[in-house]
Amino acid sequence: MVRRKLTHLEALESESIHIMREVVAECSRPVMLYSIGKDSAVMLHLALKAFYPAKLPFPLLHVDTRWKFREMIEFRDRMARTHGFELIVYTNPEGVERSIGPFTHGSALHTQIMKTEALKQALDHYGFDAAFGGARRDEEKSRAKERIFSFRDSRHHWDPKNQRPELWSLYNARINKGESIRVFPLSNWTELDVWQYILQEQIEIVPLYFAAERPVVNRGGQLIMVDDDRMPLLPDERPEQRLVRFRTLGCYPLTGAIPSAAASLLEIIEEMLTTTSSERQGRVIDHDQAASMEKKKQEGYF
């Protein structure tokens, strides 16, 4: 008998499901970080598969910086209704009080307070001991070294030089009080795998990934979409309608669009295969030095 071999997407899917079930079996209070992007969409889809016919045995947490694209928020709420999962939305109250925003306080402080700090607060507040994140090892050099089950001390810090050995598919999810783990079920996926899987499984994603006429301004080489009237325009700036899409989603003032006519999944994949720049280029926060992401992670950024 010729045994059917798994395709590589099936193998990736199976590994991710295994990881998620392991967390649910071993941790007392897991949560899934839901950033509304395509990786989160894939992660959610995998989770629905992993626990079917049961409902998701954990809530989804969205850390809302109040500067996400409006379409992302609409999409998030619609997904919660469609799939009936428990959605927790958290915003750093201190950031709200001080009206922190990327335009007034700069991207670094905004990210620090509204994202990194907010995430830590939320995890502490709800007492989550394990949090799923959609990061992939192909995204960035320091991620390539991170474990699938990544241990965080009680201050949410990652110690890259002192990671737990991770053998076979035997994950160590044991922690002491106050400590937590971040779990990355998509570690071994590549950007192409994610798109291919979205295509194969017909997973719904935020429309911003598809090309459309959108109002943008060119700021320092980045095409920033004017998503609401909180965006202060410079004297010589005038939003223009351009055919653009986003390769990655985040806070709209910090996320550059790319000129593109790709309006279907196949066209997106084609564009991806022929593109000449990597995914993170659209993320304003990564533009500092190479070690910036590692540093952010050590401080507790996902």
């Binding site: 590589h8 320091s142 070294k145 991770e166 160590n172 084609e270």
Partner: protein, 636 residues
Amino acid sequence: MLRRTETPLAVETYLRAQETKDLLRFITCGSVDDGKSTLIGRLLYESKMLFEDQLAALERDSRRVGTQGGKLDFALLVDGLAAEREQGITIDVAYRTFTTDKRKFIVADTPGHEQYTRNMATGASTAELAVILIDARKGVLTQTRRHSFIVSLLGIRSIVLAVNKMDLMGYAEEVFHAIEADYRAFATELGLADICCIPLSALNGDNIVHRSTSMPWYQGPALLSHLETVPLRQGPGAETFRMPVQWVNRPNQTFRGFAGTIVSGTASVGADIRILPSGRTSRISRIVTRDADLAEAVAGQSVTVTLCDEVDVSRGDVICTADQPLAVADQFESHVLWMDNSPMLPHRPYIIKLGACSLQGALSQPKYKVNVNTLEHVAAKTLELNEIGVCNLELDRHVPFAPYAEARELGGFIIIDRFTNNTVGMGIIHFALRRSTNVHWQALDVDKRARAGKAGQKPCVLWFTGLSGSGKSTIANLVERKLHSHGHMTYLLDGDNIRHGLNKDLGFTAADRVENIRRVAEVAKLMADAGLIVLVSFISPYRSERLLARELMDKGEFLEIFVDTPLEVCEQRDPKGLYKKARAGEIKNFTGIDSAYERPEKPELTIDTTRCSPAQSAGIISEFLESNGHLSPPPR
């Protein structure tokens, strides 16, 4: 990669081609400066996995910090952590993916230095093939042997010996052949047979993607073509269905599914299965997925199955073909690689994770450890960080398993410390010791309750712990006198006395302290079983061993009494002059001085000897016994 001119139709064709590709996971091992990072960077570059912005960054970095005089320094692509870039070495395993027309690859890039053996094992555990790098100028070195040993231990059967830096040896054929012969002789000893030796220059790109024109004498494949075509593993026993149960899916009263990843064989609806360790049988009734039920599922798939009968199944059980079940045992011979800074302590209870089971277990003193550089067997009492030895693994219950050589998923285990929760070691099971099925607990007719009833008491173990000189023995003595005068049957086990007899072969190293306590705990257990009130007066500095003792006894039987006297006070009292000697360096490993005392977290009683006299302390303890019913016969 596609060219821009191609149409969506081409994309679909391309995606279909992607779909059928399989995945090879491999590991690269080499020492500092062998050219490993350069080789991997070269593979990523040649397989066009780099985007323009990444290439631009590489060019920029090459000029800034590169070691190639401004030429592209491929090593910069792969050294991910800031600390690594600063020191120019690889510390931790990095996983990278790349794709060619024929296959997808995940490379685990691992450090080669002896102090990172554990990181290398991590990378090897999920790999099917190993690329072992050698510097052509240096030939087979100690580290080459070490890497090969670890790789073979972790069950990798397919080896590529990449003889790098051939350019520095004038691409000389004799150099390559000498190294190859040398290596093959050694590898045969390890039982490695499937070896492909390739002469390379990672720097110049010779024999990486294309056969090099500089080495026309070499007739074998280039590295990448070998990686693309080497046959993937088909483990033995691949036909037999086995699935560890990872999670029980119970959304409501009617549905009860068992979720897990199939390790081998095929699950099909209607198949007869057996559940281990219970041995109960049933049949598969459904294979449930969110899309639709399946008729069949194969190895590697994560599924949810339901059974025809209401049988008891929980996480850690293994569902397998009914007539070819796995073996079940609780004692094994295994290779262990220690991964923690504090050494392995024989007989200390650790958490063992094997398949989907997490349970308590302990390792015996190593039969030997392996000198990873010479492969010699060396006598050992313990294993230190990065040491590999052969030990018996004893679990606190029977579990289904397979030898590691048959199934990594059912024969590999990790060792977790119960207090730090760190992964402190890993092991692989070779076989079960026959003992485990032969020794059965003898059920005796006259039991503990009967014996204790005669003595008019409820047996228990009063475990006195505290620093030397804290007052344990004094107080324990007074308690025993008191109980005895009231007609109770008691026995006092004193640390110093036991060390003269039963434990006279033990010293004061951490390993010996563990064994010391283990024996005393077992003796105390027997005595409690004989119906006695047992008083144990032992420093017993480690939480793990006190927990071991606690768990040996029946519930409510173990009473931990912490004689909490500050070190300064003990040292002042110094009734035996031991502190003075320890301070003078005449006694090594003295608790409180150069050996740790871990304070109890939740003792049943804490005695503060700076506030009460020994007699008062003894009074507190006997009152405690009285009020907990130990001084009257157990209820019928």
